[in-house]
């Protein structure tokens, strides 16, 4: 896990300082449109540069297409569609996060590609640095937001992957401690 995260983590001085402060949850931050989002890094298996995408006719709107990752066909989804963000064409910095939510955490077990505009760095957030999302956002998007992380004056929107990668019965599944506290309602 940390092997892949390292090159990214090294960039963030924040992250290194956080290490000394004990048990925290690691989040991989990325940019979509103009906002900073993050998902628990333990769900991110790999970060890919954009390979050729094959569109799938008649697929749900947030499916960008399929790619081949070492012989496996992976569906790439566009989080921007789900989060109703502005879509700009892909750039040199665009990446695909290969993410997978294990079944015991309410996931479907399928490895899915998530398109992001740019990968930033790794944050290590303690529980008290995560704020419940319900207070901040309208109910429409709350489904996708697990909480708001605040560190060194930066605000990071923590995405709940369960509605995106989950099987329908994702309710009540285990979240990392930081997120569980933030979602509260579960």
């Amino acid at each position: 896990m940390s092997r892949r995260a390292d090159p990214v983590a090294r960039r963030g001085a924040l992250a290194r300082r956080a290490v000394e402060r004990g048990a925290r949850t690691e989040f991989l931050a990325f940019r979509m449109a103009e906002e900073i989002y993050a998902v628990p890094i333990s769900y991110v298996k790999e970060i890919l540069k954009l390979p050729p995408l094959t569109e799938v006719p008649r697929a749900p709107a947030d499916v960008m297409g399929v790619i081949s990752v070492r012989g496996r066909i992976v569906t790439v989804r566009d989080l921007r569609k789900r989060l109703r963000l502005a879509e700009s064409p892909s750039t040199r910095r665009s990446r695909i996060l290969l993410a997978e939510l294990p079944a015991e955490q309410g996931g479907s077990g399928e490895r899915v590609g998530l398109f992001v505009d740019e990968v930033l760095h790794v944050y290590r957030l303690a529980e008290e640095e995560v704020e419940s999302a319900a207070n901040v956002l309208g109910s429409e998007l709350a489904e996708y937001v697990a909480g708001i992380g605040r560190q060194q004056g930066e605000m990071i929107i923590l995405i709940d992957l369960r509605p995106i990668l989950g099987s329908a019965s994702g309710k009540g599944a285990a979240l990392p401690p930081a997120l569980a506290a933030a979602k509260g309602a579960d």
Partner: protein, 740 residues
């Protein structure tokens, strides 16, 4: 830990399947015998006993308490059966068949991590108790009449003695074969002898003769029960150091003493070298009995109990050592992985081919080029062999699923009190393992329908002059790259009029439209979702219950279901499936600037598209092909593809004619790229609802092409008339609020 559990489940599953096969064989023997004495193969009863015994050991080792308890009781029953202490009857078999079902329930629960189904197990245990308590004793047999060495009789196990008595009761002759075996080769020598003797009789036991042995060899007395004459046996069993004599009857009647139990271990140790595979076989019953007498705690909690069962486990696993050496159980994902590697190698191969061609084009490297070319050809050939080899490994006989179906037939026919004869042909036909797994549910559904609603009750059959016993035929055969499975019954058939009436009532078709429907189109209604709701089911005597599910499941495997029926005569369902899902030949085409693969199995021909020959009938585009009307499908429009900017469809397009069953459809495409062997990869779960594609494949240089699901496209465009789309629209309308 999870892996171990999976391993346990898959091993247990295999054993249970074997058990089920044994029971079916016993059932068949029982039926053959009518009311008389069934001539059951003792090996089969033994097999069943060992299966349950192994399950007991395994399940208690893995702490599956209920399975262990159940096995423990079943073992008692089977032990009684194989020792002739009780009779094999239909009632006993009922209980045993139920046990197979309960075992499966247990495994399902275990896999899902749910609690073990206690109610079913308890009910079965009660039934088992009833079955075992009614055990009768075996009749005394004239053992003493034979000129047998009392020493030999004294060391027979209970089972051997039972077999000896049974054979003598049936008037089978007894022979003593004295054979000399080299110690080094005794295993193979003995096996060879057994194999040669098996067609002619049954080997009761073998013991060292106590004579003629030396440091390198041992002489055995083999007791053979056979209906052959001494001369025949001498001719088929002849060999160096081998003599055969008939054991004669004699007048005297010395009382046969019960075999002293303590003798058992000793001669067994003498008889066979420690590595001989027969040793555990002889020893199991004894150990099993010992374990039972010792109270064998099957709760699975206490450590001593586990130890004991671990010992018991050794026996059967020792037994299967030879089997294990010849067959390997492999996770199918590992084969998929190998297949992926082969696919990548194929890409390397093409790259190598291009380089080879370039080198050959250089005059100064001509020799090198030739050599490269040869190597490339050889690589090509071996890669092909490898691909074929891996595919072959994935193939399993359909018999696996047919066995399960035979059990279902037996169960349902007994439930409905209908006498049904299941005739299976082609059980050896092989298909991809994944297909076999997915097939059992749909086939079971079809069979259930055939029994429930196809085969008439007895009086109706008599009225129609049909034989009392209904027949369901399950036929499988290979047809080119496809496997065809037919489920045929000689029952009531499907009433088209009533199907049509129901379809009209449900608004699937208007009376005007119905006039033009062909019989097969009418029967096609039973496959429509929503056609068979509850009241529809009773009106049509249930035909079509869940047939839409059957169709969907078969369709997911790239197959099609067809139904033919004649009122009063019977119904035939035909399932046509590709042999393998793993690799297929495909035609790569371009539509709207994107590449798609069309499985060649569905492609009939490709021709130039003539836009001027297109006519429109009822809003559908058709053209004519050799005097026949061919419906057209503009794939570009169907897929809603937006052309890359600044491009327009080429002036010359093509029509690829695809055929599914007897239906044909012309797909309009931009161009044909060519034929290619492709490995179909599944699309992720999140794309499962998308119609029209069976998967995706790599087309080289990281590009992925979607594989078109020809049956789905044909169905979407054609079957059955407008009904499918009407249903879809109505559903949408209903979901949107008021239906129009």
């Amino acid at each position: 830990m999870i892996d171990q559990r999976d391993e346990f489940i898959s091993e247990a599953q295999e054993i249970i399947e074997g058990l089920s096969r044994d029971l079916l064989a016993l059932d068949a023997a029982l039926k053959r015998a009518g009311g008389g004495h069934p001539d059951t193969d003792p090996d089969v009863v033994n097999d069943a006993f060992r299966a349950v015994h192994t399950l007991k050991g395994l399940s208690s080792l893995f702490g599956v308490a209920r399975m262990s308890t159940l096995s423990h009781h079943l073992e008692d029953l089977l032990d009684d059966l194989r020792l002739g202490r009780s009779e094999i009857t239909a009632k006993v078999l009922d209980v045993l068949f139920r046990a197979v079902d309960v075992y499966n329930l247990l495994l399902v629960a275990l896999r899902a991590g749910e609690p073990e189904p206690q109610r079913e197990v308890d009910a079965l245990l009660a039934a088992l108790g009833a079955a075992t308590s009614s055990a009768g004793g075996a009749a005394a047999s004239p053992l003493g009449d034979y000129d047998l060495d009392p020493g030999l009789l004294g060391v027979l196990t209970e089972y051997e003695e039972h077999r000896l008595r049974t054979n003598l009761q049936q008037g089978v002759g007894l022979f003593r074969i004295r054979a000399r075996f080299e110690l080094a080769t005794i295993d193979t020598g003995l096996d060879d002898l057994k194999a040669r003797a098996k067609p002619h009789g049954e080997i009761i036991t073998y013991l060292p003769s106590g004579e003629g042995g030396d440091a390198d060899a041992i002489e055995l007395d083999v007791l053979l029960a056979s209906r052959q004459t001494t001369d025949v046996l001498r001719s088929v069993l002849s060999g160096p150091g081998l003599s055969i004599d008939a054991v004669s009857r004699r007048g005297a009647h010395p009382q046969l003493s019960e075999p002293p139990p303590t003798v058992l271990g000793e001669p067994a140790r003498l008889t066979t070298p420690p590595s001989a595979p027969e040793e555990p076989m002889r020893a199991i019953p004894a150990r099993a009995r010992d374990a039972r007498e010792a109270g064998d705690p099957v709760g699975g909690g206490a450590a001593p109990g586990r130890d004991e069962d671990a010992v018991a486990l050794e026996g059967p696993s020792g037994l299967t050592i030879r089997g294990v050496a010849q067959t390997v159980r492999v996770d199918i994902r590992k084969l998929d992985h190998l297949m992926n590697i082969v696919a990548e190698l194929a890409i390397v191969r093409s790259a190598l081919g291009r380089i080879t061609d370039r080198v050959r084009g250089l005059p100064e490297l001509r020799d090198l080029g030739m050599e490269l070319h040869r190597l490339h050809r050889s690589l090509d050939r071996h890669l092909g062999d490898m691909q074929g080899g891996i595919l072959e490994v994935r193939m399993v006989p359909l018999g696996q699923v047919f066995d399960k179906l035979a059990r279902v037939v037996r169960q349902i026919s007994r439930e409905h009190d209908k006498d049904i004869n299941l005739v299976i042909t082609g059980a050896e036909t092989e298909v991809d393992k994944l297909i076999v797994e997915e097939l059992s549910d749909p086939l079971m559904h079809m069979i259930r329908n055939a029994i429930d609603h196809g085969i008439e009750p007895l009086d109706a059959r008599r009225q129609r002059g049909k034989p009392d016993t209904g027949t369901i035929a399950l036929n499988a055969y290979q047809k080119g790259n496809h496997v065809v499975i037919e489920v045929q019954d000689d029952g009531a058939g499907i009433d088209e009029e009533r199907v049509l009436a129901t379809a009209q009532r449900r608004g699937l078709v208007t009376p005007e439209e119905s006039r033009n429907l062909l019989p097969r189109e009418i029967l096609g209604f039973i496959f429509l979702p929503g056609f068979s709701t509850k009241d529809g089911a009773s009106e049509l005597s249930g035909r079509g219950v869940g047939m839409d599910v059957v169709k969907t499941n078969i369709g997911r495997l790239g197959g099609v279901v067809d139904v033919q029926s004649e009122l009063g005569i019977g119904t035939k369902m035909t399932v046509t499936l590709p042999i393998t899902l793993a690799i297929i030949s495909a035609l790569v085409v371009v539509v709207g600037g994107r590449r798609y693969a069309l499985p060649l199995a569905s492609v009939l021909e490709a021709l130039m598209f003539d836009p001027f020959a297109v006519r429109t009938i009822e809003g559908r585009e058709v053209t004519s092909l050799r005097g026949q009307t061919l419906a057209l499908c503009r794939l570009e429009a169907l897929f809603g593809l937006a052309r890359p900017e600044g491009t327009s469809p080429p002036a010359r397009q093509f029509v690829v004619v695809i055929g599914v069953g007897s239906q044909r459809l012309g797909c309009v495409v931009d161009s044909l790229i060519g034929q290619q062997d492709i490995v179909i990869k599944a699309l992720g779960k999140s794309l499962q609802g998308v119609r029209g594609f069976t998967g995706a494949t790599e087309l080289g240089d990281q590009n992925v092409g979607l594989v078109i699901d020809a049956p789905a496209i044909v169905e979407e465009m054609l079957v059955p008339s407008e009904a499918g789309r009407l249903v879809g629209q109505r559903r949408l309308g209903a979901a949107g609020g008021e239906a129009s």
